[in-house]
């Protein structure tokens, strides 16, 4: 197991390397002139000024040199300065990444808390009203566009009912109460969609498990239905659920832009999106790279977890 883990960890390195090349390449293919954005010159351009700025930001070197400089600095934790705010990129990212991770984690957590019981119930009470309701709700959840659902939530819970704040953010460690208060609605928006998906997954996994031979065996041995379900089938059915939730978490990290825009949640998605619009290269590069690394690591952890939970699969 250990050897396998180490092997997998080593395999990540070329992936991260390729990711960095992809990121750098894409970002530098963006149309729109960096210098132009920096100076916002209206037509007239002083070649001296352009030369000075290119020197300052290292834009006058050939592209592969720029890449290696970037990587070299990045390994030391220096991602350069934002072209727009002129603050170190680290400041831009450090404030943003925790917000997204926080939202994604709680969202997924919420989704599991809702989906597992619901999916199990639906599977156990197959083809009853419970099952149908659960299915309908989860089908609705996976087919509504995200931004639409979020806005409806805000209009309902914040405006009509006044139960929750419509938007906003407070950092967790400095203002925990307020932070959680603001978190509820966005996490619900994230969680509902994920829950819909996970409910269906749990339901079908449970159905698979229940129809397996060992269940009949356990029943015939006289074990209570409850024990059969909760002790054995649920545990086995959880394996795909948990691993897929882990993968969902990874993909969520890159996909929260829409919700962050609507809820004014200052996360990394919003930061990168804004940076793309403004052609703030250092921020885009650093942000996408960091996010990508997090995704790769989460995928790795999920893979290892899966093999731990399901020894049948083996290390092949």
């Amino acid at each position: 197991m250990l050897i396998y883990a180490i092997n997998r960890i080593i395999q990540i390195i070329p992936v991260i390397f390729i990711l960095s090349v992809l990121v750098f390449g894409f970002v530098h293919a963006l149309p729109g002139d960096v210098i132009d954005t920096l100076t916002a010159t209206d037509g007239e351009e002083d070649p001296e000024v352009r030369a000075a700025l290119e020197e300052e930001f290292g834009l006058n070197k050939p592209i592969y040199v720029q890449y290696f400089i970037w990587v070299g600095n990045a390994l030391q934790g220096d991602f350069g300065k934002s072209l727009v705010t002129r603050r170190p990129v680290n400041i831009e990212l450090i404030e943003r990444i925790p917000a997204t991770v926080y939202l994604a984690l709680v969202g997924i957590g919420l989704s599991i808390i809702i989906a597992v019981p619901l999916g199990t119930l639906a599977a156990v009470r197959r083809n009853t009203l419970t099952d149908y309701s659960a299915q309908i709700v989860s089908l609705a959840g996976i087919s509504i566009p995200e931004f639409w659902f979020a806005i409806l939530c805000i209009l309902l819970f914040a405006l009509q009912l006044g139960w929750l704040p419509s938007s906003g953010y407070a950092p967790l460690f400095s203002e925990p109460g307020k932070s959680i208060w603001y978190l509820i609605l966005p996490a619900l928006a994230v969680g509902f969609r994920q829950a819909a998906f996970t409910t269906r997954l749990t339901r079908s996994s449970m159905l698979d498990e229940i129809s397996k031979d060992y269940v009949d065996t356990a029943r015939s041995l006289g074990l209570s239905e409850r024990k059969v379900i909760y002790k054995y089938t649920l545990r086995n059915a959880m394996i795909p659920t948990i691993t897929i939730s882990g993968l969902q978490l990874a993909s969520l990290l890159g996909g929260t832009v829409v919700l962050e825009t609507i809820f004014s949640w200052p996360g990394i998605g919003l930061a990168i999106y804004s940076a793309i619009q403004l052609r703030d290269f250092p921020v885009i590069q650093a942000g996408v790279l960091v996010l990508g690394i997090m995704v790769v690591i989460i995928n790795l952890l999920v893979d290892l977890l899966y093999r731990v939970l399901n020894p049948r699969v083996g290390m092949g």
Binding site: D36, G43, L155, S167, I262
Partner: protein
Amino acid sequence: MSKFKISNSFGQQTRREFLATSSAGMTAAAAAAATASMPGSAFAAKKKGGTLRFSTRSDARGLDPQRNVIYYVSHPLAATSGGLLDIDKNMDIVPAIGEEWTISDDMKTYTFKIRKGVTFHNGADVDAPAIKWNYDRVRDPKTSHSFHRSFFKLVKEITAIDKYTLRIDLELPSAVFLASVTYYPVNLIAPNSVDQVDTHPIGCGPFKFVSWKRFAKTEMVRFENFWQTDAAGNSLPYLDAIEGYPKKEDKVRLTALRTGEVDLIENMSYADAANFKKTQTANYNTWDIPQVGCGYLAVQSKTGPFAMDHPNGKLMRQALSHAIDKEAIHQAIFNGLSESLNGFYGTASSWHMPDIKNIKEYDPEKSKAILRKLNAMNTPVAVVARQAYSYMHQTGEIVYSMLEEAGFKVTNEVFDNPVLRKKYKKSDYGVDSTANSYRFEPDQWYSVNVLSSGPSTKLRTGYKNEAADKLIVAARATKDKQVRMEMYTDVESMVNEDAAIIYTHGIPLTSAATKKLKDYQPAFAGPFNISNGGVRTAYMEG
């Protein structure tokens, strides 16, 4: 004359002697001294203050006010702006840190008398050398944004004659230079704070910067040593603090107001504004800002079938102009909240010119006739617009249909600003659906976008009209407003006939606030940091 020692909280300047020599300062000092010793004074009564939570559509892009345009209508950070001169409710220029000024007879030299005793947020003096430092920084292309820099194009030299006198010499005579030294465009920062200008800027406006959490919150507190006082001698502003919350979604911003999470919002969506005004006036005040900007179509006239030097160029541009139905734009985009324009200034402005002539409006048959006569049916036209502003690309969408109906072969694209600028440079578009924010000094519009040597003119339309050029240059050197208006009226009539710029609409804006916000009146074109209104005179009740 009393002397006061003030030790400032930043500790950057160790000792200062505060000499209150101006009459306003005297009154403030006297009042402060008097009230400090009298228990039952007017001051002991309810003090105006409170914290204003202000939600806007956009967030500031950066903290350096000379490298980033901190828009005085919609960036809360503009509350920290301070400049040599101020703007008032009517968008007129009034004295501020520059108390008095003289203009030489040849209109090439401006001399300003600086108010004594004004300081930056960190206690440093706002004096002539500091202001000169600021203006030199703005003139340097390495450190400033071209928007700010363009206002100093005519400047030859800036001299600090003594601590409180500043002289500016111009290359050409100009009657309008005062507009270049108001707080918008140039927001003054403390010279000794330049190293932290991107992280903690030090200005001289009514509010001090505290913190900026990008995309989340901007915090500002009252500047206790602000130079301005009210009629009773109380120091302005009243508010204790302002918190800015950027919320991009119109619905979400409005919801935040209605649930009481914020006190003031700007830029209500046009669809919501009409309804809100009808149903919510019990608990909320609204302010109609009739013209925060001017919407227009810029026709690329540098090359191609619409070019200035193309023999049929003018007729082709007129064909474009005849095809535009301004009423449709009025209804569809602005929900009837604005007005169609023939010139840059709408009826709410003191610069509105009623006598402008225009060619025939909305006559698609005429467009078709022109195209047929010139054998130019199905001339390709690329309509472009900027992604960031929905009214721009929605207008573009309508213009697309209108031009198609008139017989052009139209394509429609929406771009981010960096890409758009590239297209301007390459003359790679046909019609740009765009807008310009309100200019309280007309020369700022005409000499930048209409004058053939203007930077925007050269970049975007390539418009050339010698007669108009002469008038614009002359108007710049004319002091009489009436005469200037007549000159600009002629210019606009020419612009309409040449149709390289097709004015469509005033861009309206609706702001709204809870009734707990008192005495808040933004200028008619939107700015909220003004000398006799906005956040300087506002306070929260309760």
